[in-house]
């Protein structure tokens, strides 16, 4: 195969990838998009294998079979609640693969036509250093994100004095080492870059708290794209550059959406330290004299059965309690009684962008009953019941009124506008952000203090009775 033909086929693969993303504008076209993505990847791999000078087919096949088997088994077995961890783990692999490709290119540059060992084009060396560093940061950063999401380490932010200065110092060290690597074509410098970038990846993610994980996942998604992009520059391969840019911008946009959903600046998330228990104590202090109304499953069933419209507000707590299936059962029973049921999703509900939608879809909730915050917020005032399950901070009216609140300015669901608010919660403690929720003490609110799944089961029983 000539290089011209290979370039042309790479272009076809790039177009497949663009169409794969474009397909995701609607659930119906999304499946075709996914197939196009697979087709693009197949074209890219086969084209590369058919290029002159690429041999070792059996070795390569072995690698693909081993990797493919592991990937397939993991993807088929993973529970949808564990999706965020899985994605974090996958990002780490892209990062590590980028590191290995950069190292391979350094030791055998002639394979890529960018020079001979010890005498590599300056531009390629710079790009190699960039790709290597981003890849290494993506690798360890994603490992830490994975460990936090999987609960292997505490989700609490790890902060220590001089943390940001240390990170800055390591960043400067990376630049100095890159200059050394470029000027001297030094392998020592290259390995040092890898080691320091590995350390930096860990240090960048440990101060970020569990509540900010949606941003972190999106950010690492973006990094993995830029790593591929950097390698694409090194190898002078437009396919890698295009794909890397698509993934990089996708992750960046998702990070932006997540930050906006929490009313936090990107930098405050990156710098971390949010979501600790420092202000939880302050919130607990003034809890004493407030009274709230507690209800039972029977009360909830009665209220909802006699309503004409119910809006369900699910949050991460629902996923933790695995309550989505019984919740859907409850909604089905209500629909049989002629109640209109809708779901309202906050942009940062769950542990990754769009996580709630996947969990509801898994439970069999049709996607046209699920609405985004902007679409449904005005409908709360017309509905009799808002059923909040496993969500807290995203319903807090203090975000709209109380300038002193740490979550002031965060866009929230206008749950308090509904005639009745049913709030399923395990206890009266504060949410992730450590902020008390005035919604609990409002006249129209009835607290259903129980495990989310247990409560839904009881409501289902009461509805069936």
């Amino acid at each position: 195969m000539t290089y011209e033909l290979a370039s042309l086929l790479y272009l076809v693969a790039s177009i497949c990838f663009i169409l794969a993303l474009k397909g995701l504008s609607h659930p119906e076209s999304s499946r075709r998009g996914n197939y196009l993505g697979m087709a693009g990847m197949t074209i890219a791999i086969l084209t590369t294998l058919a290029m002159p000078g690429v041999g070792n087919e059996w070795l390569i096949l072995l690698g693909i079979v081993i990797g493919g088997t592991i990937g397939t088994l993991v993807a088929l077995r993973i529970k949808m609640t564990a999706l965020p961890q899985l994605v974090a783990a996958f990002h780490s692999l892209v990062g590590l693969a980028a590191v290995f490709v950069a190292v391979a290119a350094f030791y055998n540059p002639s394979a890529y036509g960018i020079g001979v060992p010890g005498n590599i084009k300056v531009a390629s060396l710079i790009e190699m250093a960039v790709g290597l560093a981003i890849g290494a940061i993506t690798f360890t950063g994603s490992i830490i994100a994975f460990a936090k999401l999987q609960g292997l380490v505490s989700g609490k932010p790890v902060v220590f004095p001089m943390q940001h200065w240390l990170n800055l110092g390591l960043g400067i060290a990376l630049i100095v080492l890159s200059a050394w690597m470029v000027v001297e074509t030094s392998s020592t410098a290259m390995w040092l870059i890898a080691i320091i970038a590995f350390a930096l990846g860990i240090l960048l993610i440990i101060p970020i708290g569990g509540a900010d994980m949606p941003v972190v996942i999106s950010m690492l998604n973006s990094y993995s794209g830029w790593a591929a992009c950097g390698i694409g520059f090194t190898l002078e391969n437009p396919l890698l550059i295009i794909t890397g840019a698509l993934v990089g911008s996708s992750g960046a946009i998702l990070s932006y959406i997540m930050c906006k959903g929490m009313n936090r600046s990107f930098f405050s998330v990156i710098l971390g330290g949010f979501g600790g228990d420092s202000d939880a104590a302050a919130a607990a202090a003034d809890e004493g004299d407030k009274t709230y109304r507690q209800g039972s499953a029977d009360d909830a069933a009665f209220l909802m059965r006699n309503a004409t419209s119910v809006i369900i507000v699910p949050g991460y707590g629902m996923a933790v309690a695995q309550a989505q299936h019984v919740l859907r059962e409850m909604a089905d029973l209500l629909k049989e009684e002629g109640v209109e049921v809708k779901y309202a999703i906050h942009p940062v509900a769950g542990r990754m962008p769009g996580h709630m939608n996947v969990l509801l879809a898994e439970a069999g909730v049709p996607y046209d009953e699920v609405f985004e915050m902007e679409e449904i917020n005005r409908e709360f005032s017309d509905s009799e019941v808002a059923f909040v399950i496993g969500a807290n901070d995203v319903t807090n009216p203090a975000a709209k009124t109380d300038k002193a609140s740490p979550i002031y300015g965060m866009p929230v669901l206008d749950v308090e506008k509904a005639q009745n608010v049913l709030f399923v919660k395990r206890s009266m403690s504060a949410g992730y952000a450590g902020v008390d929720n005035p919604l609990f003490y409002m006249d129209q609110t009835m607290m259903l203090l129980a495990d989310a799944k247990k409560m839904c089961e009881d409501v289902v029983k009461a509805l069936e009775a």
Partner: protein
């Protein structure tokens, strides 16, 4: 005597024509020199454009970022998780770099590096596309007989 004069005249005209020819030749030589200078300039330009693969890459990058920006903003928020799944899968296109390294015989160390990269990226390709497939298969429309009876 007149014969001799005639011969001298003939010689003179001969010399004239010769010098003229010489001038022409030197012109030609200069022209050649100029054109060969041109060749040098062209080959230098070619080397330059070969060296500016980075600029070419940058062009591709910027255009691709624009495409990515517009395509991703049109993705419905309900499908943001599958978006991450599919972008994760396609970012493994980095396998191309691994394939070339693993496929270039005679450089054991970088072959091993390439092999590892291929294996890691393959986990991602299969895992990413399959998990996205599973997610998308779950998104179903409301069944036709509407719930509101």
């Amino acid at each position: 005597m007149s014969d001799l004069k005639g011969q001298i005249d003939a010689l003179k005209s001969e010399v004239d024509s010769l010098s003229q020819r010489l001038g022409e030749l030197s012109d030609q030589a200069q022209g050649l020199a100029a054109s060969s200078g041109g060749v040098e300039a062209v080959s230098a330009a070619a080397a330059e454009s070969g060296g500016s693969a980075t600029i070419f890459g940058l062009t591709v990058l910027v255009l691709a970022v624009f495409v990515g920006y517009h395509v991703v903003w049109r993705v419905t928020p309900a499908l943001h998780s599958p978006l991450m799944g599919v972008t994760n899968a396609i970012s493994s296109v980095i396998i191309v770099g691994g394939l070339i390294a693993a496929g270039t015989e005679g450089a054991t160390f970088s072959e091993i590096m390439g092999f590892i990269a291929v294996t890691l990226a393959a986990v991602n390709i299969f895992g990413g596309f399959i998990v996205t497939y599973r997610m998308l298969a779950m998104f179903k429309k409301k069944p036709k007989p509407a719930a509101k009876a």
